[in-house]
């Protein structure tokens, strides 16, 4: 009770055990603040109850932007600004010359979708160059899994539950003010 303003870090050494533990904790109505893992654990987002990612929607939008940019760019360069005779067919029409532009349309769609999606992901995850790592213990980048719980009613009860779910180590840390 006296340690109510401490953060609990439970450390696991197996992803299957971790998955079961997270399920168990959520069943007992604990709010899991964050889970640190060395690799993406399959199905963890579902058992943590995280809301569905919207990155696919942004990717689709970025792809559409890329396609539009490609069309406008090729139309300006090859048809309007400096009309080109494409494949011996000097029609000077975008639609009639489209087969020649399809590879560029495709590439820019992919290019925009991929790069803007990565940038969006970095912004959304608050990642930038030279940022200090947030993981509490370095071994979560090696072979350990860490579950962080901020709010709980009874420390001893939580500890008992964590031990039961297979945590190999439980660390208490002061909350940063």
């Amino acid at each position: 009770m006296e340690n109510k303003n401490k953060i609990v870090h439970a450390i696991y050494d197996d992803d299957d055990v971790l998955l079961k533990a997270v399920k168990e904790l959520r069943l007992k109505k604990y709010v899991i603040e964050e889970v640190f893992t060395p690799f993406p654990v399959h199905g963890l987002d579902k058992v943590m109850g995280l809301s569905e990612t919207r990155i696919a929607i942004t990717s689709f939008i970025y792809g559409c932007i890329g396609l539009t940019v490609a069309i406008l760019m090729m139309n300006y360069m090859m048809i309007e600004d400096w009309p080109q005779n494409i494949g011996g067919k000097p029609s000077f029409s975008y639609v009639e010359n489209m087969p020649a532009f399809v590879p560029i349309m495709f590439e820019l769609t992919v290019y925009f979708a991929a790069h803007l999606m990565v940038i969006t992901f970095y912004l959304r995850s608050r990642l930038w160059p030279f940022k200090k790592a947030e993981n509490p213990i370095p071994s979560t980048t090696d072979d350990k899994f860490l579950v962080q719980i901020d709010n709980y009613k009874s420390e001893s009860e939580l500890k008992k539950l964590l031990k039961k779910t297979g945590a190999i180590e439980i660390i208490l840390k002061d909350k940063k003010e």
Partner: protein, 446 residues
């Protein structure tokens, strides 16, 4: 686990399809012209009903300048052209039969390739679908034999699908003459027999080992199946490519494309995967295959999506290079298709690429049976039109029409396909219980 029971409804449905198909095909063959006069009458009838500009078409048809009277006393050039026209009209029911026969045979062959890939890669997700795939590949033998029969009848000059089989044509054609070492009827049929024998032998042994594995104590049959599957894939990719030159590309003996084999492969592969998904969803809706969950359907959906794009990639690679270089002997192929086959040519692109792309792009939609069935039907129609576009322009020229012959041929082969496939599925347990990966497949989730 209960076996699938071949229900009377499915049997009756397939038999009705076959009977209607045979009636329609008989009508198609009987109404084909048997002489020059009839052919001219058919064209004239058709055009008189239309508006004034039909006269232009008629004149082009006739190639005889400013009159369109069909008297026989005109020049020999006129008669040659008339004979050409007659052959095209006589070809129409044959070509309709051939397109449908080839299409359903290729569904089965594409499924066999998919099945062999699952076996050779020892896939963990798919074993619950093996019996469905084995059911679909059961059609391979009858399907191949029918195609072979049509090729044989072409060899006996019952039709003019393959103009290089006609010695009168070859006599005046330097290009075909140069290819005669490869394109001659005995060697052609010998090759066809060789491909069919190889494919059907693999299918026979793989099915045998698959059934034997159910009762085996060790995994010896699984290993055997792995080995013959890997060997089959090597054999398949060579023979499939040659099959596409022989059975499809040689209809246009002057034209050639180096990636044609891949293009045909992509078409049969996506059709095959689609039919696996449709059959599995049908069986699920009847209360069978309860172990096939939405993750399996999701995976098949991903394949349908991916291979549709792969097909478009190959189609476009072939099209763009030929369009860009504009070499007369190559580009005629696409000029015929764009001018005379505008609607099927471009609608095929929408059906095979744009609609599957947009419908199946969302990950969640691939888990919904309704979307898979809808897209599946679109893909099946689209790839039928794809095969149609491969065969028809050279076989019947601008005299194409999706009419009684075409629909009947499709119905007949669809009926036969459904009958053979569901009959075969009913013969064995629905899951390969002895497969070492069956547990992984049952628990598969995404």
């Amino acid at each position: 686990m209960d076996n699938y029971k071949f229900s009377n409804r499915v049997r009756n449905f397939s038999v009705i399809l076959m009977v209607l198909g045979i009636i329609g095909l008989a009508y198609g063959f009987l109404s084909a012209p048997s002489s020059l006069e009839e052919a001219h009458a058919m064209i004239a009838d058709g055009h008189h009903k239309e508006s004034e500009h039909s006269e232009d078409i008629l004149n082009q048809e006739n190639n005889s300048g400013n009159s369109y009277s069909y008297q026989k006393e005109s020049s020999s050039d006129h008669n040659d052209h008339g004979e050409h026209l007659l052959h095209k009209l006589q070809n129409k029911p044959w070509a309709a039969l051939y397109v449908a026969a080839l299409f359903f045979m290729m569904i089965s062959l594409g499924t066999l390739a998919f099945y062999a890939i699952q076996r050779a890669s020892q896939a963990g997700w798919s074993p619950v679908l093996y019996r469905v795939m084995e059911g679909i590949t059961a059609y391979l033998l009858p399907g191949c034999l029918i195609v072979f029969l049509i090729l044989l009848l072409s060899g006996f000059h019952m039709n003019h699908l393959f103009i290089w089989m006609d010695s009168k044509v070859v006599a005046h054609d330097e290009i075909i003459k140069a290819k005669i070492g490869y394109l001659n009827t005995p060697f052609f049929l010998l090759r066809a027999g060789f491909y069919i024998l190889g494919w059907c032998a693999y299918r026979y042994f793989s099915r045998k080992f698959s059934l034997a594995q159910d009762k085996a104590k060790d995994i010896i049959y699984h290993k055997k199946n792995f080995r013959i599957s890997a060997a089959f894939l090597v054999f398949f990719i060579v023979t499939e490519s040659m099959m596409s030159w022989d059975w499809i590309m040689s209809i246009d003996p002057h034209w050639f494309s180096t990636l044609f084999g891949w293009y045909v492969f992509a078409s049969m592969f996506v059709s095959g995967i689609t039919v696996i998904a449709l059959t599995a969803i049908y069986l699920k809706s009847k209360g069978y295959l309860d172990l096939v969950n939405d993750s399996h359907i999701h995976d098949l959906g991903k394949f349908m999506f991916g291979i549709s794009i792969f097909w478009t990639y190959l189609w476009f690679s072939q099209f763009m290079l030929i369009w860009y270089s504009n070499i007369p002997e190559e580009v005629t192929y696409f000029i015929t298709r764009i001018e005379d086959y505008n609607l099927p040519f471009f609608s095929m692109l929408a059906l095979n690429f744009i609609l599957p792309l947009l419908i199946l792009m969302n990950s969640d939609y691939k888990r919904v049976n309704y979307f898979i069935v809808m897209t599946g039907i679109i893909i099946i129609i689209g790839h039928y039109i794809d095969v149609f576009n491969m065969i028809m322009p050279s076989a019947v020229g601008d005299k194409w029409f999706i009419g009684i012959s075409e629909i009947s041929a499709f119905m007949f082969f669809a009926g036969l396909f459904i009958y053979v496939v569901f009959k075969e599925i009913s013969k064995a347990p629905l899951y390969p219980t002895g497969d070492p990966f069956i547990e992984e497949s049952k628990r598969y989730h995404y």
